[in-house]
């Protein structure tokens, strides 16, 4: 009997994990759609913040198991496809920054919002550096540094707001999952 419950719990945990991974992925994809949307304020194009990068950073720090490398790769690749840019450019850049940041996560997470924001600033910098290198490698020409800088700055500035939104989303999904477990009498 207890073996059956354990097995059921294990299956539920796996199903729950897949659904759970779905939330950060979906949040990243919605962020990506906003990133490429033609938004113009006062007749000028705003350097759109990299919303997918914010989602990747948030979950890489808070719940890395919900943002595994293949999801980061997929988000980058979809971004390349939607923007029509060189395939592999953003997946490479995101993965490089993700790898470094997750190995250094102890230095940033759990030390206050300011430190986390600083950590995100480092992630933006790493991503932009990797993107510039990859871009120069593929295109064989110099990259518009001003544009990269503007995009990096807007991404960095918007993070506290986006991070708070992602935090609420994470809390809600976590509560929903707990309720699901209690309802089905499962202890995971």
């Amino acid at each position: 009997m207890s073996q059956g419950v354990t097995r059921l719990s294990s299956v539920a945990a796996q199903v729950g994990l897949v659904a759970w991974i779905g939330v950060p992925t979906l949040a990243s994809l919605i962020g990506l759609l906003i990133y490429v949307a033609p938004i113009h304020m006062f007749g000028v194009s705003i350097p759109m913040p990299l919303f997918p990068l914010m989602a990747i950073f948030f979950w890489a720090m808070a719940r890395p198991q919900l943002m595994p490398p293949f999801v980061v790769f997929a988000i980058g690749l979809i971004q390349d496809l939607i923007t029509g840019g060189p395939l592999g450019l953003w997946s490479f850049s995101y993965l490089c920054a993700y790898t470094i940041m997750t190995t250094q996560s102890d230095a940033f997470s759990g030390r206050g919002a300011g430190m986390l924001w600083a950590g995100f600033g480092l992630m933006v910098l790493l991503t932009m550096l990797a993107a510039a290198l990859a871009g120069m490698m593929v295109m064989g020409t110099k990259i518009d540094g001003y544009h990269l800088l503007a995009q990096g700055a807007s991404t960095f500035l918007v993070y506290p707001l986006a991070g708070r939104l992602y935090g609420r989303l994470q809390q809600t999904t976590q509560q929903a999952r707990r309720m699901y477990d209690i309802h089905h009498g499962l202890t995971l």
């Binding site: 006062f42 007749g43 000028v44 890395p64 790769f73 980058g76 029509g84 871009g135």
Partner: protein
């Protein structure tokens, strides 16, 4: 919770599979990048891109609904900002445009008369398809836009895309319900142009900067700031005479003087655009009363027999 998350991150990364997957996916990304290093093949992965565009275009339209109203609010605010001054400027512009209008009517009539005298065969008719930009990329790596119109609407590769002010780019890939526009300032954009008033040819080349540059300008000719640039139609793809912009002189980082074109169309705030589709040339219809041309291919030539002139004699 954060502490648990961070230690979780370490555990996750220490795992063998995590390391393998990171290396694997970085490797795949690098392989993808290197496979596109060959710039002779700009249409690499076209099928994948077209399929992705077909999926993304309807999704973008759904997202655009709430975001469009956000943009609209900005436009409304900006239009009411300094309204009186804007009215004064517009009135002055309107007066100047009226003069140009009467002049253009006179010139149009004159050109029509000349064309009649010369029995000139005009340019093929152009069909206009209007649509809206659903996604755009203005990053440092690509300058493109996604349209919610595709092959099912009669769009094909190479067609010119304009806004009310001038050329913005050309169609580079077409899906069933989506089309991607390569903007004139994209790194891969090359458009043959003519400098109006001088008939000097040049190439308009994008380099992912705001204004595309003017290269291969006719030998010995020095463009001036303010020279108007339009398509020459020499590529046989874009129609000739589409307005693009005006020449501006710039100083290159090495100190030399370069020329760029300030486009009439605002490439960073596109909304509604038009695709100029040339009507395909219709082959002349055969008159049924006229005898058909005899097929003299070797296979059929054997059936014909030479008249036996000797028999009559």
């Amino acid at each position: 919770m954060a502490r648990r998350g961070s230690s979780g991150a370490m555990v996750w990364l220490r795992g063998f599979w995590a390391r393998v997957s990171i290396v694997l996916f970085i490797g795949i990304s690098v392989a993808l990048l290197l496979s596109q290093g060959n710039t002779d093949d700009p249409q690499s992965f076209t099928q994948v891109r077209v399929a992705a565009d077909d999926v993304a275009a309807p999704a973008m339209q759904a997202v655009d609904l709430p975001l469009g109203s956000f943009s609209g609010l900005g436009a409304w605010l900006s239009s009411n900002w300094k309204a009186a001054e804007r009215v004064r400027i517009l009135e002055a512009e309107n007066r100047a445009l009226r003069q140009w209008e009467s002049l253009s009517h006179a010139l149009h009539a004159k050109i029509l008369r000349y064309e009649q005298l010369l029995n000139m065969q005009g340019e093929p008719e152009v069909r206009v398809l209007s649509t809206r930009v659903v996604a755009e990329a203005h990053g440092p790596f690509v300058r493109s836009a996604l349209l919610r119109i595709g092959r099912s609407d009669g769009v094909s590769e190479g067609l010119a895309v304009v806004d009310p002010r001038g050329l913005i780019g050309r169609i580079v890939s077409v899906g069933k319900h989506s089309a991607r526009v390569l903007l004139v300032n994209d790194l891969n954009s090359r458009i043959p142009v003519v400098l109006q008033g001088s008939s000097v040819r040049a190439i308009l080349a994008g380099d992912n900067q705001r204004d595309p540059q003017l290269i291969y300008v006719g030998k010995g000719f020095v463009p001036k700031t303010g020279d108007r640039v339009s398509t020459s139609g020499d590529d046989g793809v874009l129609p000739s005479g589409i307005a693009i912009g005006e020449v501006v002189e710039v100083k290159n980082p090495d100190g030399s003087v370069g020329y760029r074109v300030q486009t009439y169309a605002n490439l960073s705030t596109m909304d509604f655009v038009q695709i100029l589709a040339r009507q395909p040339a219709v082959p002349p219809e055969l008159d049924p009363s006229e005898p058909e041309i005899e097929d003299l291919t070797p296979a059929n030539a054997g059936d014909t027999t030479a008249p036996d002139l000797g028999a009559e004699q």
